[in-house]
Every structure is written in C-alpha cells, then in structure tokens.
Symmetry: C2
Subunit: 211 residues, 2 copies
C-alpha cells in the first residue's frame, strides 16, 4: 500500500502530487464551458468540476482556480451573466482536451480547437454544436474558498437540450449510449459502461435493481 | 431533441425532473463518507458530489443537501472535525447504494449495509475496509449556497491510502484496473473504461497521447 500523511503529500514531487491528488477522488464529468466577453470574444474551456446543486429550481456549480492569472471563463461570466455547459463525448474529447492549453484572451478556443459555436434562440453565449447535452445557465452567486482562493460558481439552468431518444420515460439519461466520457484528474479520459440502476433505497428493504 | 426552458423544467413531473437534472451534468464519482458522533455513533453515506479543490495543500470538497432534516454526516463532522472519503468499487457498489436509505441517527450504516469500519493509526473516524482508496480529512470551512441552502464542505487531506500497484511512477491512478464505479445522478452506476491520457496541452502544438 502507498500510505501518505499530509506532510508526505506536501513533500511529493510536484507533478506526481498534482496527478495523484487530482485523481484521488475518482471519475469526474467532462464539460466544456462556453462564454463570451462583452465585446463578443468567445472562450471555451474544459472543466472536470461541474457538480449538481439542486433540481428545483435547477442549479449547477463548478470550481474556478484562483484568479492569480486571467481567467477568461470567470471574467466573461461576470461581464455577461451567462455561460453554457456542454457534455464532452468520446468523438471529440481530444479537441475538448486541447482547450486546456493557455491560449491568449484574443483567441477563441472554438476556432483553435476546431469546435463549433452554436447559437440557440436568443441565448447570449454559444453552445458547442458537437455536444449532445447542452445546458445554458445564468450566473447566480460565487464563493471564495478561503484556504486556497479557488472560487465556486453557481448557475441556474435556463435552457437544456438533449437527444430525446437517450432520455427514458422516467428521466434516466444513458451515458453509455450517448458515448459520454469522464475524466481522471486533468489528463485521462474514460468511457462509461452501464452497470445497473437501483430503486430509491429504504431501510430494512433489499436493494432493488430497476433496470 | 428534448428542449426545455427554465419554466418547462420547473413544471416537469417531480421524479422525472430529479432524475434528469441530477444526471444532466454527466458522470460523477462514487464515494462513501464515514463519520462518527462525539458519543461514537458511526455514520456512512454515499455522495456523488466530491470535487477537487487543491493539491498543495491537498483539499477536497463535497455538497451537503439543506439541513431541513437531520444530516448526520454534517453534524458529525462539525462535532469531531474529521471525516473519511472512501472510493466505491464495483464489488460493493450495491451495499454502498443502500447507505442512501434514511436510517435513524442511532443506526450505523456500516452495520446495516454490511460494510466494515476500519480504524487506521490514530485517525479518529473509521475508513471503509472494502474501499481501495481511503482518504482521511480534517474539516476546514463551509459555505452556504444562498439560492437553495445547500452547503459546500471543504476538508484537508490528512491521510491517503491506495494500492501502490495502481499508482504509476508519475502519479496516474488507473480507475479501470481498480474497478471503480461512477454514478449517473442518484441511482445508476457505471464502470470506467480507459480511453487515453494526454500530455499537458499547449497552444499551437498537437495534442499528444502519452500512454
């Protein structure tokens, strides 16, 4: 077993630590966040930290790294109040990964990474045409994490687009059939293989598989 | 395509909405959070919201639902200052799912779900013996999300245990070989199939597969 205490982790070689600690909490969702500046400059960046906040009203959140350098996703959201979250599929995950490169503020990662901005109705910022699940959100609130200056961003879902055939009559979404990917840390991609689905668990009842 | 606006989502049938919105942001990690009350009553609950906050110092966070009912995980963490995060593997994911049932405060989900509490060194709360990745954390800070009273909890990694053979020399963790699972929403489990790993992306360079 590899057994590490806090101080051992602090003393690890830098890139070993970054990889290990980013992966230690398990598989994460792969999402592209699309934004635009007030002047219309587009930005697209991959995030592995999108999390569920609530379903009524519908909210999602994600983590921003500290603002010690320009974070275009952050400044664009603060400027326009809107952003899109777009699920990454296996078919274009390599292009999605390339958005993590540090492009300048005058570069659209849509263009440099060959992904297609898609405007839907009047929503003010573009979605990713290649994504099968597209979510448009309005910015709601942010929280500064005191221990390391990372920022939690919370948005409300204003628009949601998903292929109807991959949503079951009771609201299940099949990630395997959609061929969605997950991420280990910052660099390793996984596809999802469906194992099983369970009924709402109750004390003193057997765990029931529902399909 | 299924296309929903904010108000359409609000008007969805309740269980359809809960399933859809919990799954819309993609695959999530499956972790059991272990805690103990001041009097030694153990608690274990599955969470799909653990996220990376930082690697130096090493921090993880997770979401708590509103405190409108007793949340033993929350009250125990506030009482003792410690908790464990334990990765769920395919071999025991059904038992892990059963911890989501609403057991009373005097019930240990370790016992009722047949999972084994494991005390390691002097760490004050138990790990899950069945988990291959075990993380012990100290509570650091919490943030109340204003829009819906959910709570973000942040902990510092004090102890980390992982099978050495599944950590590469550069800090990669192979989720497929560990047979870890991810979750879709609250009820659907997936195994992970490794697709590829990429080098740190740079502008104007080809995306490089590293293994």
């Amino acid at each position: 077993m590899l057994k590490l205490e806090y101080q051992d982790i602090m003393n690890l070689e830098k890139y070993f630590r970054i990889s290990l600690i980013n992966k230690i909490s398990g598989i994460k969702s792969a999402n592209l966040i699309g934004t635009a500046s007030q002047t219309g400059q587009l930005n697209l960046a991959i995030f592995n930290s999108v999390f569920h906040v609530g379903s009524k009203p519908p909210y999602l959140g994600f983590m921003m790294r500290p603002l010690s350098i320009d974070r275009h996703t952050y400044s664009n959201i603060k400027e326009t109040g809107f952003f899109t979250i777009n699920q990454v599929g296996a078919a274009f995950h390599q292009k999605a990964h390339q958005t993590s490169a540090k492009y300048g503020g005058d570069v659209s990662e849509f263009e440099s990474c060959e992904l297609t901005p898609e405007y839907i109705d009047e929503f003010p910022v573009p979605f990713v045409a290649e994504s099968q699940i597209k979510i448009g959100l309005s910015f709601q609130e942010e929280h500064l994490i005191a221990v390391n200056d990372t920022i939690i961003m919370i948005g409300q879902i204003e628009k949601l687009i998903i292929p109807r055939k991959h949503v079951s009559s009771d609201g299940d979404i099949d990630f395997e059939k959609l061929n969605l990917v997950g991420i280990g840390g910052l660099d390793t991609y996984y596809t999802c293989r469906r194992l099983d689905r369970y009924a709402y668990a109750r004390p003193n009842e057997e765990t029931k598989v529902i399909d």
